[in-house]
Structure formats: structure tokens, C-alpha cells
């Protein structure tokens, strides 16, 4: 998140953006390239951490006795963990896009606050979905539902609990959640490209 925040705004602050833009590179290429670079870095990080997680789980499975392991709801090296890992990665892609978006028009400190705020709100967003059940006002319920659809719903990517408790996470759910992320990332990147392309650095 913090690397994403500095992707563009730090280039502007350090004025290195001038030398970058003097190269034969379009502004949208700069934005998309920076995003792709960070996503690849994230992918590498996630891959290393996943490997480490499986190693630790494998070790735990090896040292624990069978009686203790019977209390586990899922095997230690359950391949279903990869579903949670994948959705975590998609979530990080979305958060990076949010950070990059804010980075194109605000200072790093403000971008950090906005991104972190949206990250926190995104995890509580699901509570807004059924808000009309707990308030008498129909208008408040409608506003809550609109906000629910407007803000990124990050809680939907968190399936760790299901996986750990051996609950099924269907491919359909993963496809729809990933599709949602792709569309949302698309919106953020397009908005970032649009703002950055029209920005005057004189």
C-alpha cells in the first residue's frame, strides 16, 4: 500500500517525473507500467510467503501426533489454502490500484490517509448491505446500500476463516469476486490515467 502511494506522487515531489516524461513513453504507459511492476512484486512476495506458510504447516503436521491432528478441521497443508491466498492477492491488487489512483493527484501523506481510510472502510463495508434491517429510515437504508456498492468491498476477499474451518469456497464465488475486483481495478486505473494524462506539471 505504501509503495503504491509513492508510485507517482514521489516522482512528482522529487521532480524526476520531468525526466521520465521526456522519454518516449506515454503517460498511460507510465501509470500502467508502474501498476504492473508493483503487482508483480506483490505476486513474488505472496508466492514466497505462501511457500513459507506451507513449510511451517508441513512441519507442524510432521511433529504433531495423530490424536492432536484429529482436532484440526482441515489438513495442515490443505490445497484449499491457495484459494484464500489467491483472493488475498486480488485484494492487494485492488488496494494497490486505490493507492495508485490517489497518488496521481494528491501528496503522499494525503494519499496514505485516503488509501488507509478506504482500506478500513472496505473491511466494514459488508455491514452496510443490510443496514436497512437495523434502521427505521428507508432513506438511510438506501444511502447505505448505495455506499456499499460504491466503496470497495474488501471483506468479500477474506475467505481465510472458511478455508481454515474447512468450509467450501466455490469457484463461482471466487470468479465473481475476482471479476468484481478486475472491474473495480479497471475503473481506478482508468480514472488514474485520465487524471494523470490531463495533469499539468509546468
Amino acid at each position: 500500500m505504501f509503495i503504491g502511494i509513492g508510485l507517482v506522487s514521489k516522482e512528482v515531489e522529487r521532480r524526476s517525473i520531468y525526466s521520465l516524461l521526456s522519454k518516449p513513453v506515454r503517460r498511460y504507459e507510465l501509470i500502467l507500467g508502474k501498476y504492473a511492476g508493483l503487482v508483480l512484486t506483490l505476486a513474488l512476495n505472496i508466492a514466497v510467503m505462501t511457500a513459507a506458510l506451507y513449510l511451517v504447516h508441513g512441519y507442524m503436521s510432521w511433529i504433531e501426533n495423530e490424536e492432536f491432528k484429529r482436532s484440526w478441521e482441515a489438513p495442515a497443508t490443505d490445497p484449499a489454502l491457495l484459494r484464500a491466498v489467491f483472493l488475498t492477492f486480488v485484494q492487494l491488487m485492488l488496494v494497490t490500484a486505490v493507492a495508485l489512483f490517489f497518488s496521481t493527484f494528491s501528496r503522499p501523506s494525503l494519499a496514505a490517509v485516503l488509501t488507509f481510510g478506504l482500506y478500513v472502510v472496505g473491511h466494514f463495508n459488508a455491514d452496510l448491505r443490510n443496514f436497512e434491517d437495523v434502521v427505521d429510515s428507508q432513506a438511510a437504508g438506501i444511502v447505505a446500500r448505495v455506499v456499499y456498492h460504491l466503496l470497495p468491498n474488501l471483506a468479500a476477499f477474506d475467505v481465510k476463516a472458511q478455508v481454515v474451518h474447512a468450509q467450501p469456497v466455490s469457484l463461482g464465488y471466487m470468479a465473481l469476486t475476482s471479476g468484481y475486483a478486475v472491474a473495480y481495478i479497471g475503473m481506478l486505473l482508468l480514472a488514474a490515467v485520465f487524471i494523470f494524462s490531463r495533469r499539468d506539471f509546468k
Binding site: 498511460y28 466494514f124 475467505v159 472491474a183 475503473m187 485520465f194
Partner: protein, 306 residues
């Protein structure tokens, strides 16, 4: 290098944005509709200890208590409205956390206790948890006579332990500022606990003293249930009379109508016909009735999650 791509033109950019927003919206709506259960399963408490959460919340414990209260409401309301098997497993822990974060959260104690006592499938049917929650509130606010009364109420209505109920009503009456009728209620409960008349009086007093619409509506619903119980008593009397006259139990409502014991198919106060089970010779509300289940006639809740 100056670009002239479509992404720099506001109109084309707006169109693509709207298209992407539509895609995102349809993915969310489809997922929420198809996979509501998977999202519900995600409602696991990572930190089940209210005390630990209170420490972690720093000075935001009251705000976090509000969040957990909303979660408890959503868990209760969402589960109650869910199709299929309903699991209220998190209701007790969520209320416990809420009241640990804000030990003076009056609404959470009183409403939470009502939710917990409600019989399955409309609630978890856990009067024991409701009593524990109210006792937790009393430990912090011993001057809240309403909590003593609510505990007495739980013993009276759900556990049918009239001696214990009377004792709690008495304790409520001892609290300075308590309602004047609690003392007589304690006496009535001890003398005629379980009779429809004393129950009716109890709910009527609850209805009259309710300080919000929810409790008033709930009391009105209980009073209507008592009317239904009175109806059922009369119907049982008619069936017994038929049995005496003919030497066999009735096989349908029509037989009782033909015998002049009823004027028509009996309906409950919500307009649903009463149901007679000929094998066990019992009369009850229809499961479709808004008043179903009557106290003591709830369905067994599902076993708790491992």
C-alpha cells in the same frame, strides 16, 4: 509526448467507467445473491474475548461496542430471515463482546436478552444465555430494576419456573424507583404462576410500561398468543365433549361443526386456521401463523457448530 487516446477524452472515459461500474455492480449483486451462505460462514469471531478487544480498542471501545451491536443485530435479523437451517451461534458471543466493550450498553442487555430467549426458529432459544447477559448487566448497574424484571420474565415465560420468577420480581421491587406493580406481580406469580390470567396481566403491564415500540409490539404479540392459548383451551373442551358424546375422538373440524360444538373452522387471531393432530389429539397453531411457535412448543434448534 502528448497523447490523444480515448482515455484522455472525458466522454469516452465516462462511458468506459460506467461500463466497468456496471460490471462491478452486477458481479457484486450476483455474488451476494448466489453465495450469501458463504459470506455468512465468514462471520467468525477472530477475537472472541471482549476483554481482549477492549484493550485493543484503546479509547475507541464505545465506538467498537456500537459496531459489535450492529453486528449482533445483523446476525440475529439476517439469520431469522434466512432460508433453511438457521444458526444463531454468534449471537451470544457478539452480545458478550458488545457489553464487555461498553458495560453500560443498556439496549444491548435488554434487547439482547429478548433475542436470546426467542424460541427456535425465530431465535436461538437460549434463556440461560439471556439470564447470564442480564446478570452481567446487573453486576455493573445493580440499580437497574428492569434487568431484575427481565430475568424474572425469562424464568416465568420461557423456563416456567414461577418460584424463581417471583423471587426476581421481588428483587426488582426492592430497587429504589422500581415500578409499583412489581410487588403485586411477584405475589401473583407465586400464587397463580402459569395461569393465562396472570400471564396476561404480566404482558399487559409490560405493554403499558414499554418505553419503545419494539417492546410494545412484542408485548402485543404475546398478548395475542395468550388469546390463542385461550382459544385452544376452548377447542380442547369442545373436542372432549364430542368424545364424551360419541365415544370416539373427532376426526375433523367439520365433525365438531356438524355436532354444533363449533360455528365454523376455528381460526387464530391472525386469521390462520388452528391445526388438530388426530394421531396425538393435540390442537396447535398452524406453523404458518405469525404467532407460531407458542411458548414451550418451539422446534428443536440445530446442534451447535463444532
Amino acid at each position: 509526448m502528448k497523447g490523444t487516446g480515448w482515455w484522455e477524452r472525458p466522454a469516452s472515459c465516462a462511458i468506459v467507467l460506467v461500463l466497468l461500474a456496471g460490471l462491478s455492480l452486477s458481479a457484486t449483486v450476483t455474488r451476494d445473491r448466489l453465495y450469501a451462505q458463504e459470506q455468512t460462514e465468514a462471520q467468525v469471531l477472530y477475537i472472541p474475548s471482549g476483554t481482549a478487544l477492549e484493550r485493543a480498542a484503546l479509547s475507541f471501545d464505545a465506538a467498537l461496542a456500537d459496531v459489535y451491536w450492529v453486528r449482533a443485530l445483523q446476525h440475529y435479523g439476517g439469520t431469522k430471515r434466512a432460508a433453511g437451517e438457521r444458526r444463531y451461534d454468534l449471537l451470544g458471543p457478539l452480545l458478550d463482546i458488545t457489553t464487555s466493550l461498553d458495560p453500560r450498553f443498556n439496549v444491548a442487555y435488554r434487547f439482547g436478552a429478548i433475542f436470546l430467549t426467542e424460541a427456535y426458529p425465530n431465535g436461538p432459544g437460549r434463556p440461560d444465555l439471556a439470564i447470564a447477559l442480564l446478570e452481567k448487566g446487573l453486576a455493573v448497574m445493580p440499580d437497574r430494576w428492569e434487568y431484575y424484571m427481565d430475568i424474572g420474565f425469562t424464568y416465568y415465560w420461557w423456563l416456567r419456573d414461577y418460584e424463581e420468577a417471583a423471587a426476581w420480581f421481588d428483587r426488582a421491587a426492592d430497587v429504589p424507583g422500581a415500578s409499583w406493580w412489581l410487588r403485586s406481580l411477584a405475589a401473583t406469580t407465586l400464587a397463580a404462576g402459569g395461569s393465562h390470567e396472570s400471564s396476561r396481566r404480566l404482558w399487559q403491564q409490560m405493554y403499558d410500561s414499554a418505553d419503545n415500540d419494539w417492546i410494545r409490539n412484542e408485548s402485543a404479540r404475546r398478548l395475542t398468543q395468550l388469546r390463542a392459548l385461550g382459544d385452544i383451551d376452548q377447542l380442547i373442551g369442545a373436542a372432549q365433549e364430542f368424545h364424551r358424546d360419541t365415544g370416539r375422538p373427532p376426526r375433523s373440524w367439520a365433525e365438531l361443526v356438524d355436532a354444533g360444538l363449533l360455528v365454523g373452522i376455528p381460526i387464530d387471531p391472525t386469521g390462520r386456521p388452528y391445526v388438530i393432530d388426530f394421531s396425538s389429539q393435540t390442537i396447535n397453531l398452524s406453523p404458518e401463523s405469525e404467532l407460531y411457535p407458542l411458548p414451550g412448543e418451539s422446534l428443536p434448534p440445530p446442534p451447535p457448530s463444532p
